[in-house]
């Protein structure tokens, strides 16, 4: 009898544990997230965590890096009130060329930069909404 009671008690404890774990899983979308770890690589998940062209615009930077096979750091001027995303290019070489990136470009917005804010001073290599990869003329 006592053995049966002990078994029943342990079963109850186990059920409580399972229910709490399931609540936790549902709350954090665990199954979806583990599926994404299998199906999406790190880079894709990183891009999805940020906006494509807005604030840090990591999606745009990633696209530019791939499309133009960028292997060196390019100066980034972010016109939005947002952290500077130059850390994204951290693993690239330090090499000077004439390329520059404008993120969330807005000519009326004041940013502290040595680069001209006039788009006519540049050749547009790539554009997505207000994000630009430019070449200094």
């Amino acid at each position: 009898m006592s053995h049966k009671l002990l078994k029943k008690k342990n079963y109850l404890k186990f059920m409580v544990f399972v229910i709490l774990t399931l609540i936790m899983f549902v709350q954090m979308n665990f199954f979806k997230k583990i599926y994404f770890v299998f199906t999406r690589d790190y880079e894709t998940r990183l891009i999805k965590s940020y906006e494509y062209c807005g604030n840090e615009s990591i999606g745009f930077l990633s696209n530019v890096k791939k499309k133009f096979q960028i292997d060196h750091k390019i100066p980034i001027v972010n016109y939005a009130n947002s952290p500077n995303s130059s850390w994204y290019f951290n693993d690239l070489k330090d090499k000077k060329d004439k390329k520059i990136i404008f993120l969330n470009y807005n000519p009326n917005y004041k940013v502290d930069t040595k680069y001209s804010k006039n788009l006519e001073d540049y050749k547009v290599l790539h554009q997505h909404n207000n994000c630009y990869l430019l070449d200094i003329r």
């Binding site: 404890k13 409580v16 544990f17 709490l20 936790m24 899983f25 954090m28 665990f30 997230k33 583990i34 994404f36 770890v37 299998f38 790190y42 998940r45 990183l46 965590s49 940020y50 840090e56 947002s82 952290p83 500077n84 995303s85 850390w87 951290n90």
Partner: protein, 442 residues
């Protein structure tokens, strides 16, 4: 699949780095028979201390400290293998279900983190920049060229070390250490009272549901100090429940001081939080006067040493540079006006609803004051809570920045960090309910 494997490998790497042999547990905590979590709890503090010391000797382009870390890793691995072999030989090798639960939670939260890779605003602007200084082969002299060079750097250094010592070398593998420390502090605090494994698991679930949010691990340093403050209150509890410890300078105090040192090197406000903790401790009658003097002197020495190092590196040693720039004593009443006090109180109430620990702390302290008058922990924790509120008031009232903006962007984080001092009240309250047999009717 490789990423899942790397997460488990990272868990293994951190565990080995934080593993300590029985002799160290015996020396620092008089624990003759430590379980794996006891060892890791001591080891993680020693690991932070070792990393801080190694960061002083790191020089640009040199790999010496990484070789030292590899030696430490191999040494710890040897100790672990020896302990496992001895237990196996003595037929003492048993599965630790609580540690299995720890591994399980670490894995679940790692998956959560691997899908929320966005780094917070200040973390991108300051903490990540400091981490990248080390990643790019720089040393602590290069930190003077980073923004907010008045901020300490231990958290960023740890972030760098653990992303370097990982298979895939992704940035977030460094932040897995933050998660590890957080979980370890929760598991440690849940084991201060003697309860069955199932009760412990339930208590951990409660604490996790109350505290865990993925945003805590977005590179901000508050989670580190929060977790270390939990461990600090735990050692405080252990010292006071062992009457011998408060009579003479026990080795537990050495552990306490190493822990305090780490907190000072993670965030500037750590100094104030330690001062709040020590003041509450020093005001207790039970503790020997000599010990109070020693602890206070060592704390001041640690602060002076930090000041010296900052000066040596060329870092700014102002507390919160720019934040109190315009405060002058003759303008006192411009800063401490009725409307400003009301605004701070309003935000305090608002963010208390966001951080359940505060509501629980008030409730627990009120109930225990009424029904458990002889409990010696009510007074120091009440004092810590009041001093904590005083800290929020003064830190924000005297700011030179627009008050509403500062409150909006930083009060919740400071409140969260400080709440690490009160988490221990949850297991203590559970113990109180058990002692008073409140739970028997349920």
């Amino acid at each position: 699949m490789i990423e899942i494997f790397s997460i488990f490998t990272q868990l293994f790497i951190i565990t080995i780095f934080c593993y300590v042999p029985t002799s160290i547990c015996l020396f620092l905590k008089s624990n003759k028979n430590p379980d794996i979590l006891n060892r890791l709890e001591i080891g993680i503090i020693l690991n932070l201390f070792v990393l801080l010391i190694l960061s002083f000797s790191l020089r640009s382009g040199s790999n010496t400290i990484y070789y030292v870390l590899i030696i430490i890793f191999l040494n710890n691995l040897l100790f672990l293998s020896k302990d496992i072999f001895q237990k196996y030989k003595g037929q003492n090798l048993r599965i630790d279900y609580i540690f299995l639960f720890f591994i399980f939670l670490f894995f679940v939260f790692s998956i959560d983190l691997s899908n929320n890779l966005k780094i917070g605003w200040d973390a991108q602007n300051y903490w990540l920049v400091k981490k990248l200084v080390f990643t790019n082969g720089g040393d602590f002299f290069d930190l003077k060229n980073t923004p907010r060079n008045d901020y300490p750097y231990l958290g960023s250094f740890v972030w760098h070390i653990y992303s370097k010592f990982s298979i895939l070398r992704y940035e977030y593998f460094g932040r897995l250490f933050y998660l590890y420390l957080f979980l370890l502090s929760i598991f440690s605090v849940a084991s201060i009272i003697k309860i069955k494994n199932f009760e412990k698991v339930m208590l951990i679930f409660v604490l996790i549901f109350l505290i865990y949010k993925i945003d805590l691990f977005n590179g901000y340093q508050e989670i580190l100090n929060f977790s270390l403050l939990i461990l600090l209150t735990k050692i405080f509890y252990e010292i006071f429940t062992n009457k011998l410890s408060i009579k003479k300078f026990d080795n537990k105090f050495i552990y306490l001081l190493i822990l305090i040192n780490s907190i000072l090197w993670i965030k500037s406000e750590g100094t104030v939080l330690i001062a709040i903790f020590l003041l509450s401790m020093v005001l207790m009658n039970q503790i020997n006067f000599k010990i109070k003097i020693i602890i206070t002197l060592v704390f001041i020495s640690l602060l002076l040493y930090k000041y010296y190092i900052f000066n040596f590196i060329g870092l700014s040693h102002e507390i919160q540079k720019g934040n109190y720039e315009y405060f002058k004593i003759y303008d006192f009443f411009d800063f401490v006006s009725f409307s400003r006090i009301i605004l701070v109180v309003k935000y305090l109430l608002f963010y208390s609803l966001n951080n359940v620990i505060y509501i629980l702390t008030i409730f627990i302290l009120m109930v225990m004051t009424k029904h458990d008058k002889k409990n010696i922990f009510i007074l120091p924790f009440s004092l810590m809570f009041i001093l904590g509120l005083g800290f929020f008031m003064s830190a924000f009232l005297f700011t030179s920045f627009p008050l509403k903006w500062v409150l909006w962007v930083s009060l919740d984080r400071v409140m969260f960090e400080t709440s690490g001092l009160y988490v221990i009240l949850v297991p203590l309250f559970y113990d109180f309910l058990k002692r008073k047999k409140f739970l028997d009717n349920i």
